[in-house]
């Protein structure tokens, strides 16, 4: 399999960004989730493992800073590409991560495939659920950053809120509720939907190496993103994306890093879901 033709799907910058997000996201979830699930034994165990109060809180804030850094890198990258290099296609077209009219047709085609009344649809560079994941990451990071900063500096933030407003809109309390449930939404989403949509697909199990090594085989490319493949072939751009296949060692390293992290995430979402069941029953 390693002798097949390989293409570059993710450049070093995007792979590094994903790595930063993994590190900071896991740090944030593991030190933050115990507070949301405070009445369960595992939450107390996990919190103590990260040093309890206030150490776990410091780790949480350091990871938040890494997230801010990753977000800054992302928008700096976007700014350089759009405004400095004057590159096009970031906001409209096949390379854009924003929702396009053709995504609606893709969703309909996908539902038809799920029901067994259509063939598996062919996609371009970004599949519609990948766009949802990207956009929810952007929205989620914004919400978590704003509410997180309010909770980090409650005294300073309330200084700029007039008393008349504060007696109706309790900013820190709203921030706490939003921060807690947006966190459950984000962690639950990443550890179940994102994992099962990418890494844990029957054809990818246990990990989609593309985001770590950057490379996909020609067979994978054609299977997942045939429209992009055909387009690049037609434009005679395909060759410029061609790369040497990753070595067995790199592939092994990728799995060594990714599999424990995937398992940790699955355990977390399992515990969160079991807590929901306990509460519901």
């Amino acid at each position: 399999m390693k002798n097949t033709t390989n293409y570059l799907r993710f450049g070093l910058f995007h792979r590094f960004s994903h790595f930063l997000i993994i590190i900071s996201f896991f740090g944030l979830v593991l030190t933050g989730m115990p507070l949301a699930f405070r009445s369960y034994g595992w939450a107390r165990w996990l919190y103590e493992m990260f040093g309890g109060y206030p150490t776990a809180g410091y780790i949480h804030r350091i990871c938040a800073l890494i997230t801010f850094f990753a977000a800054f890198l992302h928008f700096a990258f976007l700014f350089v590409c759009v405004s400095v290099k004057k590159q096009k296609g970031y906001f409209w077209g096949v390379d854009s991560l924003l929702i396009q009219p053709r995504d609606i047709f893709d969703i309909i085609a996908d539902i038809k495939w799920f029901m067994g009344i259509g063939k598996r649809p062919n996609f371009d560079r970004w599949i519609y659920w990948e766009k949802f994941e990207y956009l929810s990451l952007m929205w989620g990071t914004l919400v978590m950053a704003v509410t997180g900063i309010i909770l980090w500096f409650p005294a300073q933030i309330t200084k700029i809120v007039p008393v008349a407003v504060a007696s109706i809109i309790d900013v820190p309390s709203i921030a706490l509720i939003v921060h807690r449930y947006e966190a459950i939404l984000a962690a639950g989403f990443i550890f179940s939907i994102h994992f099962f949509h990418t890494h844990l697909l029957p054809e990818k199990m246990p990990v989609d190496e593309a985001i770590f090594t950057g490379k996909i085989t020609e067979a994978e490319f054609k299977h997942e993103r045939l429209i992009q493949f055909n387009r690049l072939e037609k434009q005679k751009d395909l060759e410029s994306f061609r790369v040497a296949p990753s070595s067995l060692f790199v592939s092994f390293l990728t799995r060594l890093f990714a599999v424990p992290i995937l398992i940790t995430g699955l355990i977390m979402v399992g515990l969160m879901f079991s807590a929901l069941l306990v509460w519901a029953i």
Partner: protein
């Protein structure tokens, strides 16, 4: 706080509680000299003799009914001498009959009577905290509405060395507001009556940290904000959580906070079903009157509830929609692989 030592060590301070106790001890000693077979103050020996041995005790356990919650607790009549000695009343200058005064001079040849009078903490010893306590809203409720309210032993149960709220004997000497174990016990003690307030405290930033077992002084428990003996309703001017003093109370931990900061809702009602019920009734009553509606909706608690319900909706929608999508995608891939395999097998044959 340390009345025991104050009373016994510094003669100059013997004007208050210590004086009565000295008289009591003296009178007991005289009585003890007159009745050699009887139990006398100044010696725990006869009590410990039986109350540490199961075979010597006629009654091993007694049911006690909590005056406030009505809960029935089984209290052991056995005393662990080692643990008793570590408690506030376990010093060498302190005796069983100091508290169980109706046993003073009791005839022990047939064993003493089974039901003792409740121990009076206030009259001879702890009159200072009692005076503070008598000014509290708890006592006001007792006087005005004849309600059962917590008295000394309901909160200081650990001190009586028979039982504590946690069902274990208290290893601490004196209940200090800085001791993490005592701080933890007080949350449960207050929460055993104020269930709604305990639940809402757990939903807030302070309570979620103490729920994880961290109860040192850097995170507030109930009494840090509401006071210890003089707990007053927030409507009272003197209350630590009332309008006048709230800034000072929050300021103990949060330096340089403004008037907006203290508008914070420390007890959010987001998970209190009764709050939603009252909200619905109020909405029904308003009958669409814009002024009344405005009053209901422009309440910080209501806004928190709306945000909470909104997020529950977002969570339910996202996970059901994307969960179904993931599962369907998964099955479709497996189905495709099977048919492809099926075709391959057919070709092979």
């Amino acid at each position: 706080m340390d009345y025991k030592r104050e009373g016994s060590l510094t003669m100059g301070r013997l004007s208050g509680p210590g004086k009565y106790r000295l008289i009591a001890v003296f009178v007991s000693a005289v009585m003890a000299a007159l009745l050699p077979v009887a139990l006398f103050a100044g010696d725990n020996g006869p009590c410990i003799d039986c109350h540490t041995k199961t075979d010597k005790l006629k009654v091993q356990e007694k049911a006690k009914i909590d005056p406030v919650t009505g809960e029935i607790r089984v209290v052991s009549m056995l005393v662990d001498e080692a643990i008793f000695k570590t408690t506030a009343h376990g010093g060498s200058d302190f005796f069983c009959t100091d508290c169980h005064q109706d046993l003073d001079g009791a005839d022990l040849t047939e064993g003493h009577k089974p039901n003792l009078k409740p121990v009076d903490c206030i009259t001879f010893c702890h009159d200072d905290p009692a005076e503070e306590y008598l000014q509290s809203s708890h006592v006001k409720l007792m006087k005005e509405k004849n309600k059962d309210v917590p008295t000394c032993k309901d909160c200081h149960a650990g001190l009586t060395y028979h039982y504590t709220y946690l069902g274990e004997k208290s290893p601490m000497d004196v209940p200090r507001g800085t001791d993490p174990l005592h701080r933890k016990i007080t949350i449960d003690a207050c929460g055993s009556c104020h269930t709604d307030y305990l639940n809402s405290y757990r939903d807030n930033a302070h309570g979620q940290v103490t729920a994880l077992g961290h109860t040192t002084t850097d995170v507030p428990v109930c009494f840090d904000c509401h006071g210890k003996h003089t707990i007053l309703n927030s409507s009272e001017a003197e209350s630590k959580v009332g309008k006048e003093r709230i800034l000072e109370t929050c300021g103990k931990c949060h330096a340089n906070v403004g008037d907006s900061f203290v508008k914070h809702i420390e007890h959010p009602q987001i998970k209190n079903l009764n709050y939603y019920k009252t909200l619905l009734t109020a909405l029904k009553k308003s009958g669409g009157d814009p002024e009344a509606l405005k009053k209901i909706l422009l309440n910080p608690q209501t806004i928190l509830c709306i945000v909470f319900v909104m997020y529950v909706g977002i969570l339910a929608f996202t996970f059901s929609a994307f969960g179904v999508h993931s599962l369907l995608g998964w099955f479709a891939i497996v189905r495709d692989e099977r048919t492809r395999k099926g075709h391959a097998d057919e070709e092979h044959h």
